[in-house]
Symmetry: D2
């Protein structure tokens, strides 16, 4: 695999923007291996993901960001993020007592499906330590008191751990705690949650029981970036499965588990591949 640069950008749509960007790379002898773009006709915004080989590219990698800023950012009002394929994202997993999402994440990582490092697993309970140990990943328990009196300290300790471990994004794999606004602000659109309903239906606690009570014929799961408002952040991925009147709350929980783990892992895949751009509380998912 050759090393590549990945550029995610958005700006007001304007004539010639694609040819400008592609020419910048071509003229500097970058071989483009991926390009996907999309114009939001409603808002008049342009979104692009472009990836090119660094080998032979005339601009040194440490200067690329500067060049884009100087040449294009102001002129086109471009916002952009630049990544390099050899700089692997570092993922922290937060978990409470359920193993299905955790196992799904770790099994993919272990089999080499994902280009990611997992330096730590964080929990408010001891229950999942055995899974972390099966996979040889450090497991940290930070207990939050029932009255939440120590929540600020606990989060400070968690943040310190994340900093020390160079964590670039967090996955809440059925983590049954609400994060503080400060913690969310420290990882803006870099905390992925899985909610066990087809959002925006059944926000909050016990969505399968809510679904059972309402008598729906289909249940779902939703992965989204965490924002300050509960279950209201940009949706990354959703999926559903058919149920019938024969299902009980318990069978919904069981059926839902398969949805949850697949939907969460699909979202994590896209994040690791740097294929998600967020804009106005929505996601653009590149192909």
């Amino acid at each position: 695999m050759k090393q590549t640069a990945i550029l995610l950008l958005h700006c007001p749509d304007q004539k010639g923007i694609i040819s400008e960007v592609t020419r910048f790379i071509s003229d500097n002898r970058g071989n483009i291996v991926y390009l996907d773009q999309y114009v939001d006709q409603v808002d008049g915004m342009f979104f692009m993901r472009i990836e090119w080989e660094l080998d032979g590219f005339l601009i040194p990698r440490e200067k690329i960001s500067d060049y884009i800023s100087t040449l294009y950012s102001q002129r086109y009002q471009i916002s952009f993020s630049l990544y390099f394929s050899d700089k692997r994202p570092r993922m922290a997993i937060f978990v409470s007592k359920l193993s299905h999402c955790l196992y799904d994440l770790l099994a993919r990582w272990k089999s080499g499906e994902w280009d990611v490092d997992i330096p730590c697993i964080v929990s408010n309970h001891e229950d999942m330590r055995y899974v972390a140990e099966q996979f040889g990943i450090p497991y940290y328990v930070f207990s939050i008191n029932k009255d939440h009196s120590n929540k600020a300290e606990v989060e400070a300790a968690e943040m310190e751990l994340l900093r020390k471990e160079g964590v670039t994004f967090i996955v809440l794999a059925r983590y049954m705690q609400i994060l503080s606004d400060e913690m969310i602000a420290a990882y803006p659109h870099h905390i992925i949650n899985i909610h066990h309903s087809f959002l925006p239906a059944f926000i909050g606690a016990k969505p399968y029981h809510q679904a059972y009570e309402r008598g729906v014929k289909i249940i779902g799961a939703t992965s989204h970036y965490v924002t300050a408002e509960l279950d209201a952040g940009p949706i990354i991925e959703q999926d559903v499965t058919r149920i019938t009147h024969k299902d009980t709350p318990e069978s919904l929980v069981l059926k839902g588990r398969d949805l949850e783990k697949i939907v969460l892992s699909r979202a994590v895949s896209k994040h690791i591949e740097r294929k998600i751009l967020t804009y106005k509380n929505k996601t653009i998912i590149f192909s």
Copy 2:
């Protein structure tokens, strides 16, 4: 096709209830051609749909209901409905300005897919008259004033028409009016609506625009029996389709149409076949 009797019943679950009912039919020389039952373990309720040939059945058809009442209703606290296959349901369609659901209903009826009569189409606008005329079905326009000042009169006239035409159930095929509680009460769990969202998400007006704003990755449609509370009646059928960030409110409307018509027609099919039982604001859909 031989004539059959169809019995839908529910009662508290108790030992021997299936054998009791099946024996009643077998002992009276009824040939059972369909049986589906279901026990709600949460509520301890028993639900059953059983169908048998009238030919050779020892109890005259006009006495069957009496016999069931006398022999079983009190003893087992059974609630039941009895239908005969040769008594076709009579369906009124209410429509406003959109043709896709209306065409789908009429095309099925015309091709003989459904054992139903359609004596009338009712609307608050002239727009769909040409469709009714294509299929030779009487079309009645009842205009409701903007200030709803004539709503009571209009509904009285509609009810009179429905009575005159012997209508047994109503289908709201994208009918953009809210029915009064009196009208709903006259057809309890016999008015089928199609709501263009995956309920309970996006209740009320402009659900596709709500879905666009929220940035969901899947949209849906829901058919349900109308009750006094808006979009909150027993759900009969739902289905969904995947969307992406590339969809606009307009493309959602287009994609949604295919969902709406199929989901509505599936619900109508089940109703015509007498395969729906309602209980506690939910539906039991027999196979």
Copy 3:
């Protein structure tokens, strides 16, 4: 709606091809309203659909094709098709005895969902004449003898009709005849068929009965361009629905109808919008 030009092209992938094409349009003052491209990394091929407003475009519409040929075709080995949004495609529908796909097509056309003309409906039977008459479209019956002795004459007459009516593509809406190679060759990748199975499973006759015999748990429908080999042309769209052991061949036929009409109409939509490119017996479907 402003008039637009639509360019579909493919060529070997090469540096700078996107910027070359977009610059050609921008430099000549065309406002690009749609661009979607895709690189087949396996075959090293580049595919693009680009649409721009003709208003203000410096090259007269009748010269655009020439310019593209001269400037780019040889240099980049580009194959392309050029369409104009104000030149509506003309669709002939071929049908035998089943109405569900026919109604679905005509209802969409009648409601204005599609930018298409339907000058004629062709059949080998009288059965569907009433539907054509409901929609006021000329209906032509061409009877093929059981021994197929008049097949060549019949197809010649059909071809003459299609020429006279300026038909640009054909939709086989459950047409139960196999077209001759000559007829297929006259409309290369411009005849859309609906096959009532999830191809390549259950090629040929009675696919629902085949599916029933095999005991599958899901059935499907497939729309594809017709080629000389039966049911083997480029697939445009597929969809599936879940079934159970309770389904009979008859219930599969009924459930399948809903799939067939939706899958066929989705394919026809994409064809009308000029969003399909075929390459190596596959389709590229632009967004």
Copy 4:
């Protein structure tokens, strides 16, 4: 959880069969906690799964089978299987080099989702030993020579292991070997395979590459009981996922993995719950 008896039976359909069976249980003071039945109208066959509490049942558990044989088997031509909920099935997993299905099975088992024992994992390669060790399950490698010269010996050794470990059914979790007819005959409809296509499409090797070549728009996975004919046994479960022209053979393999593991685990769930009946190369899956 109370201990239960589970009876799966089928016989020619006949009047009174349900009431006969339910009365047998009720009269002997068995509390029925589950009943699902189905009549195949095409073949005139009756299928039933019935489950009742052993506590208080008048017939001793070791005599139940005898009683059913004597009282009903001959009279109604009943074929039946009788299970007890406290006799857990014992599952052997066969695996080659891929971990995704194996992890999915073991994670469910470890979390207590399944009432099953897994005494051994069998492989033709060392690759998956680390997974077995993570979960503390004995791992046996039986190497088959490239020329298959030792296949008979190897299978004899495998069969000996299975016998010793009291294995009641086998799961082929992407096991890349074809079992001999003898081995299949020893576990009739008790070996579950996962095939990575939507059968009967793409039988045999490299189905994702076949799917890529054919240009399908949906891929699938199929779990089925193994029979002597390759990929032709009774289908238990299937599922599909949408793909586009942008997918490569490699991305199909990745997307397919999620299907494979979920479809296989759903089939294994149903088998463990004794909810599958096979008849004429099809499965009846009870609810």
